[in-house]
């Protein structure tokens, strides 16, 4: 891990950890917005983290950003910072000045759209910026706001470079959700291990039962797999841009979706009844895992895309294609 990334990860970690555990998650579910957390993160310059320094941003790499998104995912941080970072990166790449405040991605089911002042839309390679005039509230099963927006006519527009291409929003969102899943997986593994060492049955901690140990060990394997897949995808974006990293991003979203499915089920098995309750913190993460599987393309959809490509290229090309993508 490079030095800058280490410092930023630490700062963001402190900010989200200090935000009060699941309190901000409950606040958002009740229709509020954790303004203090948003402001704290904004003060770190996070919104412009992916904007190059010469354009007034921080100039982080996508690898650095993915590390931050994992931290956000680890805490379920209920602020659209990752989305705003992506929106700002694309606006800047298209030569559009980045406005202050929350950026919504798209206009249907936009994450935290009701809290956004502006929205970013992509039509072909043409990126447009719109003021948000109204929002019909909705939510995913993570109880995160996913709103249909009424947008003003565009206030600015630009063309995305080919390296990011016409699918940049979907690709970026897939990477964000995969990274958040990696973080949330790490979290539920830690919660489950902790619980296994605490909860006693038959006179000993349930973590002493081999059946429980084996399940948690298998979960650790999934955590490792999704983390590596996300690093690999972010590295590909750094090397080639979003468009040419579609394969790695797709792989990361497939592995993340599978890991989320397995991880949530395993954690609930270990927690048993207590984990099903509204009062317990586990569901804040498992519901998000289930929701994030679906956003930015499901694992099934991405698998279909990767599979079609592999079938079209043929068996003899699979291995050479894979190794040719090494960064």
């Amino acid at each position: 891990m490079n030095e800058l990334r280490g410092i930023l990860v630490e700062q963001v970690e402190r900010l989200v950890a200090d935000a009060g555990g699941v309190a901000p998650l409950r606040e958002v579910e009740a229709g509020g917005f954790p303004q203090a957390l948003w402001d704290g993160l904004s003060e770190q310059g996070l919104a412009l983290a992916l904007v190059p320094e010469e354009a007034g941003g921080v100039g982080l790499s996508w690898g650095d950003a993915a590390a931050l998104w994992q931290v956000l995912g680890q805490h379920g941080a209920p602020v659209p910072m990752a989305e705003t970072m992506l929106g700002a990166a694309l606006l800047s790449a298209a030569g559009v000045e980045v406005p202050d405040g929350v950026l919504a991605l798209g206009e249907k089911g936009a994450p935290f759209g009701r809290h956004a002042t502006n929205a970013v839309k992509l039509d072909g390679a043409r990126l447009t910026l719109h003021a948000v005039e109204g929002a019909t509230p909705g939510a995913n099963i993570g109880r995160e706001p996913r709103d249909d927006l009424t947008l003003a006519p565009r206030s600015a527009a630009g063309i995305l470079p080919n390296s990011h291409g016409p699918r940049a929003l979907r690709l970026g969102l897939a990477l964000i959700r995969a990274a958040q899943i990696a973080g949330a997986m790490e979290r539920i593994l830690a919660l489950a291990v902790d619980w296994a060492n605490t909860r006693k049955q038959f006179g000993r901690p349930i973590g002493k039962f081999q059946a429980v140990q084996q399940q948690l060990a298998a979960m650790a394997g999934e955590v490792a797999a999704v983390q590596v897949a996300v690093s690999n995808a972010a590295r590909a974006v750094d090397a080639r841009g979003l468009a040419e990293a579609a394969f790695e991003i797709g792989c990361a979203k497939v592995v993340a979706g599978e890991a989320a499915t397995f991880g949530a089920a395993t954690a609930h098995q270990v927690f048993a009844a207590i984990g099903i309750t509204e009062d317990h913190e586990l569901h804040h993460f498992t519901r998000r895992l289930w929701a994030w599987r679906e956003e930015g393309g499901t694992d099934r959809a991405w698998a279909a895309e990767i599979g079609k490509l592999a079938l079209a290229r043929g068996g003899a090309n699979l291995w050479p294609d894979l190794t040719a993508r090494d960064a």
Binding site: M1, L189, V193, A196, N197, G207, K208, Q210, V212, Q213, Q214, L216, A217, A218, A220, G221, E222, V223, A224, A225, V226, Q227, V228, A229, S231, N232, R235, E248, G250, C251, A252, V254, V255, E258, D299, R300, W302, A303, A304, E305, I306, G307, K308, A310, L311, A312, G314, G315, A316, L318, W319, P320, L322, T323, D326, A327
Partner: protein, 378 residues
Amino acid sequence: MRFDLPDTPPGAEALRAELRAFLAEAGRAWTPEIRARSWMGFDRDFSREVGARGWIGMTWPKAYGGHERSGLERVVVLEEMLAAGAPVGAHWIGDRQSGPLILRLGTEEQRRRILPGIARGELAFCIGLSEPDAGSDLANLRTKAERVPGGWKLNGRKIWTTFAHKSDYMIALVRTSPAPEGGSRHAGLSQFLVDLRLSGISIRPIRDLAGADSFNEVTFDDVMLKEDDLVGAEGAGWAQATSELAFERSGPDRYLSSYPALSLGLDALAANPVPGAEVTVGRMVARLSALRGMSLSVGGMLERGEDPAVEAALVKDVGNVFEQALPEHLRGLLDPEDSPAELRALLAALTQLTPTFSLRGGTREILRGIIARDLGLR
């Protein structure tokens, strides 16, 4: 636990190209059964050719027949060999663990005597760990070496020793002093370099369920070992043997065992499209890519001299699940009648091998126990 992707070593592309040309030529002679066995296949002529090209002992000093290349360049060679299903068994163990052990802990005499032969692809090694009553519970082993004038006297029995009947040497883990009363059973174990031609050794092949002679029972009856057949320190055998395991468990051999079937399966599916097959294929390719990243990360850690024992166990566990599931995924997609004969034969051979993937090198349960300990559960 942490995984950091290493950078691709310089020259990797040229090295891959060289390997692919070589393997395409050599591979003409390989039947589907040979490709399915890959590193469980033994072909001395092939290993000698690989050695002649400088692809064994790649990271070792030139003074011992090595080539002073990086560990990540070595990984390129391993990956290409396995993706092609090359029969690398005759040099695999020597290159992967016995050679590195001797290089690290052996005497100067042992290094000069042994390493150049491994690097030329001429000396084959086998692993003498398991015994009839010491499987997962390896520390329960009973084979013992007693000090005698001029050396050691070896008695006991090893089992499941892959390729003992075709190998030149075994690295054996044996007891050299009794476990201390009430103390750790890991004390008093030592490793020996055993020349399999010595008198008093008998090797009985054990036929496996696929009808092949791949592993053996090896009996030692008053076998005389020389003083300098001891490898490393007397009594330090347990730590020595377990530190080898990160090398043994993290390599591409822990997730690529079924790869040749995926490659052929793609062509069969392209010729006979099955609706929805792309989803299953995509899931396999995504897993393959993630596992490759995990294994490369551990390769990078080994290169930096770190001790990624837990990461290696994670690679092997996730990798074994993948390589066991792969033939079953293909089976779920392809009708045998519509499949080309070569793929059918490959799947038939692989199906009989898959149970071994999560046994050899430590069972799934033992690996998950290691991971659970790292998680703080034991």
